[in-house]
């Protein structure tokens, strides 16, 4: 233990040495640098080139300055895609998943054990099954000729995914992702003091008044956390591609699908990178807001 007295040993009690420590940490840092940090920075550069998957520009890409960015900003197809993405995130996550998740959590908070377990199991299963499986389940459900939905509704010949592509992927994503909101709100609701709810009931408050005056003030932080996370995930969700592939006629061409089709299907990598940069920036903004929220809440707890 004499070693611990010297300042060098205090900095490096394991006697590891900086060089060896760096060596041990190197594989992780290299992978992170190459496959996480580099792609983010490379997007910036790639967006300023005319890089293509095939042809002359594939071998000899050159800089086109900010052309890609100005072209994207002016492109009606991009505006269309952005608007669809907004509809998709707002409809399926902010409204759909958050609302349905809360309603389920609220209704099941004192439901019978088996009912609660059954509902939770089904909602969770929809969330954790592989995306290719659930995508095909919905393709089968909505099929024009033999789909179960048409049999149930007596609407033979209705091709739901073709006639209502946006509604299809929005309802699909509500089905797919409500589990997270349900779990989060269930956990949040256990933190609402039952005595306050009882008091509100005693004074004749109806359900809505109880929610507004007692429940929401308690779970405000959870609501915000939930909205930010599910918006981020829904914004980055590629699963709709496996149901509608952006079609028909770009009618469900949300941003991830638009990037895929531009960059990897049409081969316009430079242009695709320019659009990707916008996605990265939006992700960054949402993540920073989320971090700020976490810090504020930690401060509140300290105070």
């Amino acid at each position: 233990m004499a070693r611990a007295a010297s300042p060098a040993a205090a900095e490096d009690p394991a006697g590891l040495g900086r060089a060896r420590a760096a060596g041990i940490a190197a594989p992780a840092l290299l992978v992170v640098l190459a496959f996480l940090v580099f792609p983010a920075l490379w997007t910036l550069y790639l967006g300023t080139t005319n890089y293509r998957l095939t042809g002359f520009a594939a071998r000899h890409p050159h800089s086109v300055g900010t052309d890609n960015y100005t072209n994207v900003v002016k492109d009606p197809a991009f505006h269309h895609s952005l608007w669809l993405t907004f509809e998709y995130v707002l409809g399926s996550a902010v409204i759909g998943q958050a609302l349905l998740g809360f309603v389920i959590a609220w209704m099941l908070r004192d439901a019978a054990g088996w009912l609660k377990r059954l509902v939770e199991a089904l909602v969770l299963l929809a969330w954790i099954l592989p995306s290719s499986v659930v995508a095909f389940l919905w393709v089968a459900l909505l099929d024009r000729d033999a789909g179960t939905l048409n049999t149930l509704l007596h609407t033979p010949g209705t091709a739901w995914a073709i006639e209502h592509p946006m509604s299809t992927i929005i309802v699909f994503n509500i089905w797919r992702g409500t589990a997270f909101s349900m779990l989060l709100y269930s956990a949040a609701l256990t933190g609402v003091p039952p005595s306050q709810l009882a008091t509100a009931r005693m004074f004749g408050a109806n359900q809505w008044q109880q929610l507004r005056d007692v429940v929401f003030p308690h779970i405000r932080g959870h609501i915000l956390t939930n909205l930010l996370l599910i918006s981020l995930w829904t914004f980055n969700d590629f699963t709709p591609y496996q149901i509608t592939a952006g079609g028909p006629d770009d009618k469900s061409d949300i941003l991830p699908v638009y990037i895929y089709r531009t960059a990897l299907f049409d081969g316009q990598m430079g242009l695709g990178a320019a659009i990707s940069l916008l996605m990265l920036v939006i992700n960054l903004v949402v993540a920073l807001v989320y971090l700020r929220l976490l810090r504020e809440r930690r401060l509140e707890r300290v105070v």
């Binding site: 490096d12 040495g17 490379w42 299963l125 290719s132 969700d237």
Partner: protein, 271 residues
């Protein structure tokens, strides 16, 4: 029980509540009924029905040249990612907690932030180009490295708690780090392998879809997609049996987790 429970209003509320719950159950169960029925239907259609029970669809699955190998490929991707992430992150967390690096926590936070921003979707273009330049197209290692890069920051975070709290003197930490394999598994590997990321890699579609060109190396997610999108009448016997087989590990993991720990919220991040 107060008087108000017996009024008609309360009855209506109760009826409304159970109606809603029934509709809800229907909404969530309906798409999954096909997954439970079609694999055992002798003449599977897209509709939910069992005309005559059979296990024949699973023998169709065995004969398909891509079905079973693709499950093996998915297992390699999930297992390889878990191994690399745990190995690399454990080493890095150990080194970082033993040697003082200026601004260490700040860097770690920045990496964690970056891993939630640089998603496969937002970074598919540079990731594809990177894999192309490094000759990692068609390589399982390429897919594994992409996943590993995204998971390491969170893994280091989880592990740092452990390495920071272990005794700092070389002799004492040697007892843990030079310890028996059983102890290493118990203290390092098990806390790190979380069902969330494993299930995610097992089900992931986009990254292997863009990085793997050779059908022999397709994981199950990509093979299933090609089964129903590429050419002609989809083979429903094959698709249904394959979907079920591909889902079973996830269902078993869910049953295990909910039985053992209760599927409650612990702040795990999915997707």
């Amino acid at each position: 029980m107060t008087m108000r429970d017996t009024t008609t209003g309360a009855v209506v509320t109760k009826i409304g509540r159970y109606t809603f719950l029934s509709v809800l159950l229907g909404f969530f169960a309906l798409p999954m009924l096909w997954l439970a029925s079609a694999p055992f239907n002798a003449h599977p259609t897209l509709n939910v029905s069992i005309s005559s029970f059979t296990l024949h669809n699973f023998s169709v699955l065995l004969k398909d040249p891509y079905a079973l190998p693709s499950l093996w490929n998915s297992l390699l991707l999930a297992g390889g990612t878990a191994l690399l992430t745990v190995g690399f992150a454990a080493a890095a967390a150990y080194a970082l907690s033993r040697v003082r690096v200026p601004g260490r926590d700040g860097i770690l936070y920045a990496l964690l932030l970056l891993s939630s921003i640089v998603t496969g979707t937002a970074a598919m273009v540079p990731l594809f180009q990177l894999a192309f330049k490094l000759h990692l197209i068609d390589s399982r290692l390429g897919v594994i490295l992409v996943f590993t890069g995204g998971l390491i920051p969170a893994a280091i975070f989880i592990l740092k708690d452990f390495t920071d709290s272990t005794p700092k003197s070389y002799e004492e930490s040697a007892r843990v780090f030079g310890a028996t394999p059983f102890q290493i598994i118990r203290h390092i590997v098990l806390p790190l392998i979380r069902p969330g990321p494993v299930v995610n890699v097992w089900g992931s579609f986009l990254i292997p879809y863009i990085l793997v060109r050779n059908p022999d190396k397709y994981p199950a997610a990509v093979v299933l997609y090609t089964f129903y999108t590429e050419g002609g009448q989809p083979n429903l016997a094959l698709i249904s049996a394959f979907s079920l087989l591909y889902s079973i590990p996830v269902i078993l993991l869910y049953l295990f987790v909910s039985h053992r720990y209760g599927f409650r919220f612990h702040g795990g991040i999915k997707r």
